[in-house]
Point group: C2
Chain length 290, copies 2
């Protein structure tokens, strides 16, 4: 599996990817999922890929060596939307060539891409491209995309990221999101590739490969875990005497399926019973025991 | 979709389920996923179900009205492991009856269950039962099970839950896990059913249906979000001058696929370039611009 995330904030773009690939848990290897297409001062594009590695690599080959020299390429297109179309077309060509043969072996045509960057004279843009070659663009209400194993790391990004988040803070949220994912899913692994693009730079200025011995990521990993546990400990436990089981206006509608023991007729009678009724019965039971 | 989680700690068991069901996002409804089988003083069993609602309900019907009166039931079995077998058998009977017809409509036989509780004279136990009727048991190294939309809410539980976690603290972690899931997935929704079982009580003593107006859950939701953002803000941003891009012993091996512009021969030359090399090239670009 893979986890890649890219963010578009006002000050720039953040790209983060892991490097684990696996064909079964007994066949784990390392592959880069981030490709940088840079013509310094003119364009800076980053492509992240997830899915079947043979497909994402075939798409990269298509992009590097287009069969037809008249085709537009990531180096020649005038806009980022055109660049997304170029990637979409490459995905469709690979699908045409490979999908049927793979289908015979029961292998799905599974791939997705994130493309972001800037071309001189245009604004920064960020796209997600699907296996069918169609794509969507990030916006102020949805300033990030994830591909691969996205769920573990989504809640923290949803809580902190907005378009006005400073660039390095966005990078920090991406790394925390990755840390949660690494913790919960073996098929996502170090090292990480982190590229932070500063708006209008039109070149790569901040790029790092993060391994187990990276001091910042190690600090982030330890501090985040410790502080989370601390915040968790500081929040009061449920108080069953007061707030939790106070009858709410809706609690009469909030029925649980409570199954009573089999009756004298040998048939269990299913009842809709409210929490208050269950607890009343429990109290009765307790009183009887005393 | 659904999210259910159950935990087995030394002091008792925690069961939490949402109540949203959907057949497409335009067809959202409410159903209970928690069933309580209680014979006060003798046994207290809780069953959580996720998957296709018609299947999980059919399994409940099987459990309530077994076709063969000689079959063991959840009311008659002497141990929790036997109870898990009873649920597994019910799942298999429903599969035998329903799966083929559903298959014709392209509907998978999709269901999973968590069963936990205690029978007098035995210890508390917690099981997860699969669609094939087989099951596994929770243990000290894996003291919880999730079914349904499990991923969003997994990282926080992994960070705080151990068998020695106090019962109410375990319930708190389940509610935070649910809060993260509610935030990220529309197909999981309020109200929630929370049942906390105190070891050896052999009856329901703490049970509540939590809706939007529950004061504790509202406090938890707000406090957790605010404090997470605060912790996030307190952790230093990456410092590109110092820790992050300091060359690590592994950085030479950590290559990224860097794609150079098309050469004079019209062919792009793919290069493996280290982060340090990319940054050196970027510095050169900057120097040239000055």
């Amino acid at each position: 599996m893979t986890y890649c995330v890219a963010m578009a904030v006002n000050d720039g773009l953040v790209f983060l990817s892991d490097t684990r690939t696996n064909a079964g848990v007994d066949h784990i290897s390392t592959a880069r999922k981030m490709s940088v297409f840079e013509q310094p001062g003119e364009r800076m594009l980053v492509l992240l890929g997830a899915g079947n590695l043979s497909i994402t690599q075939a798409v990269l080959h298509e992009l590097s060596e287009p069969a037809d020299a008249s085709e537009p390429t990531l180096w020649s297109v005038p806009t980022m939307a055109d660049a997304a179309r170029v990637v979409g077309s490459a995905v469709r060509r690979v699908h045409e060539r490979e999908a049927e043969a793979m289908q015979k072996f029961g292998v799905d045509f599974n791939c997705s891409f994130i493309l972001g960057g800037q071309i001189a004279g245009n604004r920064m843009r960020l796209f997600m491209i699907y296996a069918a070659g169609n794509f969507i663009e990030a916006s102020a209400v949805n300033p990030y995309f994830q591909i691969g194993e996205a769920k573990y790391g989504k809640p923290i990004i949803d809580r902190v990221l907005t378009p006005s988040t400073p660039l390095d803070e966005a990078a920090k949220s991406a790394l925390i999101s990755m840390d949660s994912t690494l913790r919960s899913n073996l098929s996502v692994g170090l090292p990480l590739d982190l590229l932070v693009y500063e708006k209008d730079a039109l070149r790569v200025t901040r790029f790092v490969s993060i391994d187990r011995d990276n001091a910042y990521f190690d600090m982030l990993h330890r501090t985040w875990g410790e502080r989370l546990r601390q915040v968790f400990a500081e929040i009061p436990d449920p108080d069953w005497q007061r707030s939790l089981d106070a009858p709410s206006p809706q609690s009469e509608r909030a029925l649980v399926l409570y199954r009573a023991p089999v009756g004298a007729d040998g048939v269990e009678h299913e009842q809709d019973v409210s929490p208050a009724q269950i607890l009343a019965q429990a109290d009765k039971g307790k009183a009887q025991r005393r």
